[in-house]
C-alpha cells in the first residue's frame, strides 16, 4: 500500500521524535509505521510516557517529526511549512482534548463559533447553536466554561470539534478528566457523532474499555508500536 492509495487518510512512515535533554538525546518515538483508513476509528493506547500524545501531535501536524514522514489525506506534511500545516489542520481536522481547552473568555456558543469564524463561513452562530443543541447544551449557550461542569465542557469541545465537519477527529484522552459515568456518556456522544459524520477518529487513551470500542488499537510501549490489534 502506498500512502496515496485511495481510502487511506492518515499514514506515517518511519516516524520518530527525539528531544534533547540534559542527559543527551531522548527517543520519545521511533520507527512508527501506520496507515489509517477514512471513517476508521483507531485507539492509540499505552502507559503514561509511552509517546501516545506525541504520536497524536505528529499525526495531526501540530509538531514535526525528527525522522520519517506523515501524510494527511495525501498531503505530505513534511513538505509544508507551519502555515501550510495550519491550513491542512483547518480544512481536515478537529480536536478534542483531555483538558477541554475551551477559551475562558468565550461563552459556550462563542467557543463553538470560533473555528467557523476563523474560516469566515457564514451563519456561524446558527450552526454553532445547532451543534450545541445536538450535544444537549441548548440551555447553556451563554455560559462561560467556568460555569459548566467537566462533562458539559467536554461536550462543548466536541461540538466545536465537529463544527468544521472535519475528515479526521483527533481526541487526546477525552475522558481523562471526567468521572466514569460522565466519561462513558462523552464517549457515547463521540462515537455517535463520529458515525453520523463518517469521521475518521484517532483517539489516545489508557482506558482499555474505550479502546475496545474503536475499530482497532495501536499499542505503544517505549515509543514503539507493540503490534496492532484488530477487533
Amino acid at each position: 500500500m502506498t500512502p496515496a492509495e485511495d481510502n487511506i487518510i492518515v499514514a506515517a512512515r518511519g516516524l520518530g521524535r527525539r528531544v534533547a535533554t540534559a542527559a543527551g538525546p531522548l527517543e520519545i518515538l521511533s520507527g512508527i509505521d501506520l496507515e489509517i483508513n477514512a471513517a476508521e476509528s483507531v485507539a492509540i493506547v499505552g502507559v503514561s510516557g509511552s509517546g501516545k500524545s506525541t504520536l497524536l501531535g505528529l499525526l495531526a501536524g501540530l509538531d514535526l517529526p525528527s525522522s520519517g514522514e506523515v501524510w494527511l489525506a495525501g498531503q505530505r506534511l513534511n513538505d509544508l511549512d507551519e502555515d501550510g500545516r495550519a491550513r491542512v489542520r483547518g480544512q481536515l481536522t478537529g480536536f478534542v482534548f483531555q483538558s477541554f481547552q475551551l477559551l475562558e473568555s468565550l461563552t459556550a456558543l462563542e467557543n463553538v463559533m470560533l473555528p467557523l469564524e476563523l474560516s469566515g463561513s457564514p451563519g456561524a452562530r446558527q450552526q454553532a447553536r445547532e451543534l450545541l443543541a445536538r450535544v444537549g447544551l441548548e440551555a447553556r449557550l451563554g455560559h462561560y466554561p467556568r460555569q459548566l461542569s467537566g462533562g458539559e465542557q467536554q461536550r462543548v469541545a466536541i461540538a466545536r470539534a465537529f463544527s468544521m465537519q472535519p475528515a479526521i477527529l483527533f481526541a487526546d484522552e477525552p475522558t481523562g478528566n471526567l468521572d466514569t459515568d460522565t466519561g462513558a456518556h462523552i464517549i457515547d456522544l463521540l462515537f455517535e457523532l463520529n458515525r453520523e459524520h463518517a469521521t475518521t477518529l484517532i483517539l489516545v487513551t489508557h482506558d482499555d474499555r474505550i479502546a475496545a470500542r474503536c475499530g482497532r488499537a495501536i499499542r505503544l510501549d517505549g515509543g514503539r508500536i507493540q503490534g496492532a490489534q484488530s477487533q
Partner: protein
C-alpha cells in the same frame, strides 16, 4: 479574508472586554493620550488666541518700537502711502490712589489706537467684558483688573500719575499689542497721549518705549518697511506680524517644553504599565493562539488578529483620551487664568493628533514586542500546556521602548543634545533610584524576624516579585519626588532666599531721578533718616562691537540671544569701586585715569561673551558711538539689591555729556509707605520699585505656574497607579491561588487583608524614602549650586513623602487586592 479577520478580531476583543482583560491597558493608554492632548490643546489655545490673529494681537500690521521719539519726517513716508498710524508710549510709573500706591506699566495711546483688533473692557471688575471702540478720553484712564484690585479702585475713582490726576472710567481686560508683557509683572494703566506732558514723568533719559503702529495694504506696508529698515538705529526695532509671532512662539515653545517634559514622565510610566498589561494579555492568550493555530490559523493570521485587537484598543483609548484631554486642558486654563491674556475659545481637532500619535508610539514601543510572542506559540501547546514561546528578546523590548521614549522626548525638546541629556539623566536617575529601591526591599526582608505575620507576608511578597516591586517603587518614588520638589520650591526656596538677605538690605529702588533732582533726593532721604546707597548716574547704551568686530559675530552662537546684546544696557561712571564689587582681573582705575576711554565689565557677562581685559568694546549711546578698553573685570553680588551695572566707566568721560538719569536704592521698613507717597509727589518723574511687592508678585506667578505643573503631575500619579494595577494584575492569579490556599489552611480574611495592607503600605513607604532621598540630592544641587543658598536638611520631606506614599499606595493596593479576599478555598478544588 481581511474583512473576516477584522470581524473576528473585533468579536474576540468584545468577548475579552467582557472579561475585563484590557482595562488596565486601556486605562494606561488613556492616561498618556489624555495628558498629551491636554498639553497640546492648552498650548494650541494659547497659540491660536495670540497667533491666529497676529495682526490683531500686534494691534497693527507693522510696529516700530523705539526707546526715543522718532523724528516726524519718519512718519511722512507712511502718510504718503496712506497707512494708518497710531502712536503709543509705554513707561513704568507709580500710580497713587489716596495713600495707596502701585507700580504700573503705563501705556499712553492716541485716538487711532488700535489699528487692528479691538480692546476689551468692562464697567466693573469681574463684570462681563466686551469689545470697546475708542480710547480713554483725556483726563480718564482704564486700569487692568489687577491694578483695580491692588489699589482698591472702582470706576469713577481718581488716581495720580506723576503730577496729574486721572479718573478711572473702565476696566481694561484685553488690549492688542500686549505681547511683550504676556508674563509681565506690573499691571496696565491705559491713558490718553494728550495727558502725558501733564504727568511730568517723561523727561530726557527716562526709560521709555515708543511704539509707532502702522496698518494698510500689504504692498504699502512692505514698501514702508523697506524704507524704515535701512534707517533703524540702536534701540529701535521693527515688529511685523511675523516677528510678533516669532517672539511669542519662543515663549510658547518654552511653555510647551516645560509642561511637555512633565507629561513625558506620565507617558513613560503609562508605557511601562502598557508593557506590563500587554505581557499579561499575551500570556493569557497563549491558549487562544495555540487553539487558533490548531484550528487552522496561520502565524500571519494570529498576528493580524491580535494586532487588530491592539489597534482597536488604541482607537478606543485615543477617542477617550482625547476627550478627557480636552476636558483637562480647561483645568490648566483656569489655573493660569490670571497670567494669560484673554484666550480664544475655539480650537480645532488637530491638537488631538499628538495625543493619538503618542498612543500609537506607546503601542509600537511598549506593546508590540511582547505581543509578537503570540505569533510564536507552538500549536502543540494544545497537547502540552507547558509549552510557551521564548520570552521576547530583551534587546527588542528595551530597544523599542527606548526608541519610543526618545521619539516622544524629541517632540517636546526639538533638540538632540537636550534630548540625549534628559535621556541620560533619566536613565541614571532610574538606575540609581532603582538600586536604592532594591536595597530597601532587601532591607525590608531582613526585618522578617522582627515584625508581625502580616508584615512578614507583605515584605516577602514584595521581595518575591522584586522586579515589579522595583518598577512600582520607581513609578511612585519619581512622582512623589516631583511633588516634593515642587512643594519645596514653592514654600521653602523663596522664604530661604528672603531670609538670607541682610535685615536692612535695600528693598526699594528709585529710578529715573533727573540730574537736577539728585541733591534734592539725597536731602529727602537724609532728612528722613532713610539708609540709602550712593546715587548712581545711568546712561542707556548698547554694546555693539568687541575689538571692532560686530558683537553678534564676535560671540558664540549660543550667546547671540543673550539679553545683554539685545537690549540697551545701563552704563554708569564711578571713581570708587562700588562696595559689594570685587575686581577679579585687571585693575580699578586711579584718579589720574579720569576721562580715559576705559571700562570695567561684570565678570560673568565677560565670561559668557568672551571679553578679556585689554579688549576694546564699542557702544552706541543715543546717536554717539564710544569705544573703551576693558581695564578690569568685576564680580558683582547681584542680590545685594544695590544698584549694580554691567559696565562702569571712569568719571570725566564722554558719558557725562550725555543725558543721564540717576538711580538709588534704600531700605524702608514695610508699612512705612507714606514716605513713598511723599517721594512720588515731590519727584513725579521718579519711579519707585517696591521689591517686596515685586517679590510678592513673582511669588504669585510662581505659585500659579507650579500649580499648573502639579496639575500635570496628577497625570503622572495616575500613570503610577496604572503601573501598580498592571503589576497587581500580573500577580493576581498567583495571589488568588495563595489566598485560597491560606484560607484553606485557616487564615482569616482579616489576616489576609492585613497582609495586603502591609505589603502595599511598605511599598509606599519605600517609594517615599526613595523620593525623599532623590529630593534631598536635587534640592541640595538647586540650593547650593544654582541659587547659592545655604542648605539645611529637609526633614519634613522624609516624613511627608513616606506617609503620602503609604497612604496612596496602601489604599490603591488594598483596593486592588479585594478579589483575593473574596476567593473561597473551594476554588482550589476547581483548579485544573
Amino acid at each position: 479574508m481581511t474583512a473576516a479577520r477584522w470581524r473576528l478580531a473585533l468579536r474576540l476583543l468584545m468577548r475579552d472586554w467582557r472579561a475585563g482583560e484590557q482595562r488596565i491597558l486601556l486605562a494606561a493608554l488613556v492616561i498618556a493620550i489624555a495628558a498629551t492632548t491636554a498639553i497640546s490643546y492648552f498650548t494650541d489655545r494659547l497659540a491660536s488666541g495670540m497667533l491666529n490673529s497676529s495682526a490683531e494681537f500686534l494691534g497693527a500690521d507693522l510696529a516700530l518700537v523705539s526707546s526715543r521719539r522718532v523724528d516726524a519726517d519718519w512718519l511722512d513716508p507712511a502718510r504718503e502711502r496712506d497707512l494708518g498710524i497710531a502712536e503709543t508710549l509705554e513707561f513704568a510709573s507709580v500710580v497713587l490712589h489716596g495713600e495707596q500706591l502701585q507700580l504700573a506699566s503705563i501705556k499712553a495711546v492716541d485716538a487711532s489706537f488700535p489699528l487692528r483688533g479691538s480692546m476689551r473692557t468692562s464697567q466693573a471688575i469681574y463684570a462681563g467684558d466686551s469689545a470697546t471702540a475708542g480710547v480713554p478720553q483725556p483726563g480718564e484712564a482704564w486700569a487692568a483688573p489687577r491694578l483695580m484690585q491692588a489699589l482698591g479702585l472702582s470706576a469713577g475713582d481718581l488716581v495720580e500719575v506723576g503730577d496729574t490726576r486721572l479718573m478711572i472710567s473702565r476696566v481694561l481686560t484685553f488690549e492688542p499689542g500686549q505681547m511683550r508683557d504676556v508674563f509681565g509683572v506690573a499691571p496696565r494703566l491705559l491713558m490718553n497721549m494728550a495727558d502725558v506732558p501733564a504727568t511730568g514723568v517723561v523727561q530726557p533719559g527716562s526709560r521709555l518705549s515708543w511704539q509707532y503702529l502702522f496698518a494698510g495694504s500689504a504692498a504699502a506696508i512692505s514698501q514702508y518697511r523697506q524704507w524704515v529698515e535701512g534707517r533703524l538705529q540702536a534701540g529701535q526695532e521693527l515688529l511685523g506680524v511675523r516677528e510678533g509671532r516669532r517672539a511669542l512662539g519662543t515663549a510658547l515653545e518654552r511653555a510647551e517644553r516645560f509642561l511637555g517634559l512633565a507629561v513625558l514622565a506620565a507617558i513613560v510610566l503609562a508605557g511601562v504599565a502598557v508593557a506590563m498589561a500587554v505581557r499579561r494579555y499575551t500570556e493569557r492568550h497563549f491558549d487562544m493562539s495555540a487553539m487558533l493555530r490548531c484550528l487552522g490559523a496561520t502565524q500571519g493570521d494570529i498576528l493580524v488578529i491580535f494586532l487588530l485587537q491592539l489597534l482597536l484598543i488604541g482607537l478606543l483609548a485615543g477617542i477617550t483620551g482625547c476627550l478627557l484631554g480636552w476636558l483637562a486642558q480647561w483645568g490648566l486654563v483656569i489655573l493660569l487664568a490670571d497670567l494669560l491674556p484673554a484666550v480664544s475659545a475655539t480650537t480645532g481637532l488637530w491638537p488631538m493628533l499628538p495625543g493619538l500619535a503618542t498612543g500609537l508610539i506607546i503601542l509600537a514601543g511598549f506593546a508590540l514586542p511582547p505581543l509578537m510572542r503570540l505569533r510564536e506559540v507552538p500549536p502543540l501547546r494544545v497537547l502540552r500546556r507547558d509549552l510557551v514561546p521564548l520570552p521576547a528578546r530583551s534587546w527588542l523590548v528595551y530597544g523599542a521602548a527606548m526608541l519610543a521614549v526618545v521619539a516622544l522626548m524629541w517632540r517636546y525638546t526639538q533638540n538632540w543634545p537636550l534630548t540625549l541629556a534628559v535621556l541620560a539623566g533619566s536613565v541614571a536617575a532610574v538606575l540609581v533610584l532603582g538600586l536604592v529601591g532594591f536595597v530597601l526591599l532587601a532591607l525590608g526582608r531582613r526585618l522578617n524576624g522582627r515584625v508581625g505575620a502580616a508584615w512578614r507576608f507583605g515584605l516577602n511578597n514584595l521581595w518575591r516579585n522584586r522586579q515589579s516591586s522595583v518598577s512600582q517603587v520607581l513609578a511612585f518614588g519619581l512622582t512623589l519626588m516631583a511633588m516634593a520638589m515642587i512643594a519645596l520650591v514653592r514654600s521653602d526656596l523663596l522664604t530661604t532666599w528672603q531670609n538670607q538677605l541682610p535685615d536692612n538690605a535695600p528693598n526699594h529702588f528709585a529710578v529715573n531721578i533727573l540730574p537736577h533732582e539728585v541733591e534734592a533726593m539725597r536731602d529727602f532721604l537724609d532728612v528722613r533718616g532713610v539708609p540709602a546707597t550712593k546715587i548712581y548716574p545711568m546712561v542707556r547704551g548698547r554694546l555693539v562691537s568687541i575689538n571692532a568686530v560686530a558683537v553678534r559675530e564676535a560671540v558664540t552662537k549660543e550667546e547671540r540671544s543673550n539679553n545683554a546684546l539685545n537690549r540697551e544696557l545701563n552704563l554708569t561712571w564711578a571713581g570708587r569701586l562700588p562696595a559689594d564689587n570685587a575686581i577679579v582681573d585687571g585693575l580699578w582705575w586711579l584718579p589720574g585715569d579720569a576721562g580715559r576711554a576705559l571700562v570695567s565689565v561684570e565678570s560673568r557677562l565677560a565670561d559668557r561673551l568672551g571679553i578679556r581685559t585689554g579688549d576694546v568694546l564699542g557702544f552706541t549711546v543715543g546717536s554717539e558711538e564710544i569705544t573703551a578698553e576693558v581695564a578690569s573685570l568685576r564680580a558683582v553680588q547681584w542680590d545685594s539689591f544695590r544698584p549694580n551695572f554691567y559696565m562702569v566707566f571712569p568719571p570725566g568721560g564722554v558719558l557725562e555729556t550725555l543725558p543721564a538719569t540717576y538711580i538709588t536704592s534704600f531700605y524702608l521698613p514695610s508699612g512705612d509707605k507714606q514716605l513713598l507717597v511723599d517721594m512720588v509727589r515731590q519727584f513725579p518723574a521718579v519711579t519707585v520699585l517696591e521689591l517686596d511687592l515685586i517679590m510678592a508678585e513673582v511669588g504669585r506667578i510662581f505659585r500659579q505656574v507650579t500649580l499648573a505643573v502639579e496639575y500635570v503631575l496628577l497625570f503622572v500619579l495616575l500613570a503610577g497607579f496604572a503601573v501598580l494595577f498592571a503589576a497587581l494584575q500580573n500577580s493576581l492569579d498567583q495571589r488568588l491561588h495563595e489566598g485560597a490556599l491560606l484560607r484553606a489552611l485557616g487564615a482569616s480574611r482579616r489576616q489576609l487583608r492585613a497582609g495586603h495592607l502591609a505589603e502595599y503600605t511598605a511599598l509606599g513607604v519605600i517609594a517615599g524614602l526613595v523620593a525623599a532621598m532623590g529630593t534631598e540630592c536635587l534640592a541640595w544641587l538647586l540650593y547650593r549650586e544654582v541659587m547659592h543658598l545655604d542648605y539645611s536638611f529637609k526633614w519634613p520631606v522624609w516624613i511627608a513623602a513616606p506617609l503620602l506614599g503609604a497612604l496612596l499606595v496602601g489604599c490603591a493596593g488594598y483596593w486592588g487586592t479585594r478579589p483575593v479576599l473574596q476567593q473561597t478555598p473551594l476554588t482550589l478544588l476547581r483548579e485544573r
